[in-house]
């Protein structure tokens, strides 16, 4: 399969995503510059973490208008798989591909640490290889990762089972103490209704090798690879 990693001027984790896909998973990966349109066929587009445009004003607010986003939105509308990590998640919310918004951490400070994530749904291309309720050890590092949505939206997310990851404690309970940023309902990652767009605050690319303390991030990437192997058509 073929992955495209979008590069905004202030992307920081683009190389990390590239390396974990290319080195740890031996996948075919291209960088896609934010000023270009998307050419050629891709199975999955990744919006990496970082500070796309300095994250001035609001995280992801300006990235949403960069030329490449038109292509990303079409790609998603055609059913292509889109993964937004951290700043990528923020951009997906800002551009309306995902509901809700990510606001300042409740603690007001940037938080960088390992968290454990409970996998809530597995009938998606992003979590299909993972067992329901399984715990993943993956780091978060963000200043504005507190997920917010109004009551109605939140209800829809629950009803459509769009909440894919929750911050949980060692026992797997989504307890307040396990919530690093005050996210509603301990939400760490959600998908859209069509289940082909996934945004999460934690960084799987920083957990793709045992030497880094965890390789649970691979489980998300290999779920995507498996889904594509199952012949979901290219969307290019």
């Amino acid at each position: 399969m073929r992955w495209g990693v979008i590069v905004f001027p202030g992307s920081c984790d683009d190389q990390d995503v590239f390396d974990s896909l290319a080195r740890d998973m031996e996948q075919e990966v291209d960088f896609l510059w934010h000023k270009d349109d998307i050419k050629g066929g891709y199975d999955c587009l990744v919006l990496p973490g970082g500070f796309s445009y300095g994250d001035y004003l609001r995280c992801g607010a300006m990235a949403r208008f960069s030329p490449v986003m038109g292509g990303v939105i079409d790609f998603a509308r055609r059913g292509g798989l889109v993964l937004g990590i951290c700043n990528g998640f923020q951009i997906l919310c800002e551009s309306g591909l995902l509901p809700g918004a990510l606001v300042r951490n409740a603690g007001l400070k940037f938080v960088c640490r390992q968290v454990s994530l409970r996998v809530e749904e597995t009938d998606t291309p992003f979590t299909r290889e993972i067992k329901k309720g399984q715990l993943l050890k993956i780091p978060v590092k963000h200043g504005e990762g507190c997920y917010y949505a109004d009551a109605v939206t939140l209800e829809q997310l629950r009803n459509n089972r769009q909440i894919l990851l929750r911050y949980a404690d060692a026992k797997g309970k989504p307890a307040p103490a396990a919530n690093p940023n005050g996210s509603l309902d301990n939400i760490a990652g959600i998908c859209n209704e069509a289940r082909n767009v996934f945004g999460l605050m934690p960084h799987p690319e920083d957990a793709c090798n045992k030497i880094l303390g965890s390789d649970d991030g691979l489980k998300i990437f290999s779920s995507i690879a498996a889904a594509c192997a199952r012949g979901e058509a290219r969307h290019g």
Binding site: C93, A106, L108, D150
Partner: protein
């Protein structure tokens, strides 16, 4: 013309910054302060044929970029 835009968090969206400021103000002895809300303040110059023309443009800018309707409200003033 000069434009002044005030972006504030919607009621119901929690505002940890405002809360933190309120706490520090109380700690400093300003106990008379309550309901602190923190927002953004933008100022810029703009050329436009008329005030109403400017208003229309500024409203567009806010809806498109400067405020996020999911979490924020905005209002603005225009001075000749």
């Amino acid at each position: 013309m000069r434009v002044k835009i005030f972006v504030s968090l919607k009621q119901g969206v929690l505002d940890p910054q405002g809360k933190a400021i309120e706490r520090s103000l109380h700690a400093l002895g300003y106990s008379e302060v309550h309901d602190v809300r923190m927002g953004k303040y933008l100022e810029f110059g703009v050329e436009a044929a008329s005030r109403s023309a400017a208003e229309a443009r500024v409203r567009e800018m806010c809806d498109k970029l400067l405020a996020n309707p999911v979490i924020e409200d905005y209002r603005f003033e225009i001075e000749e």
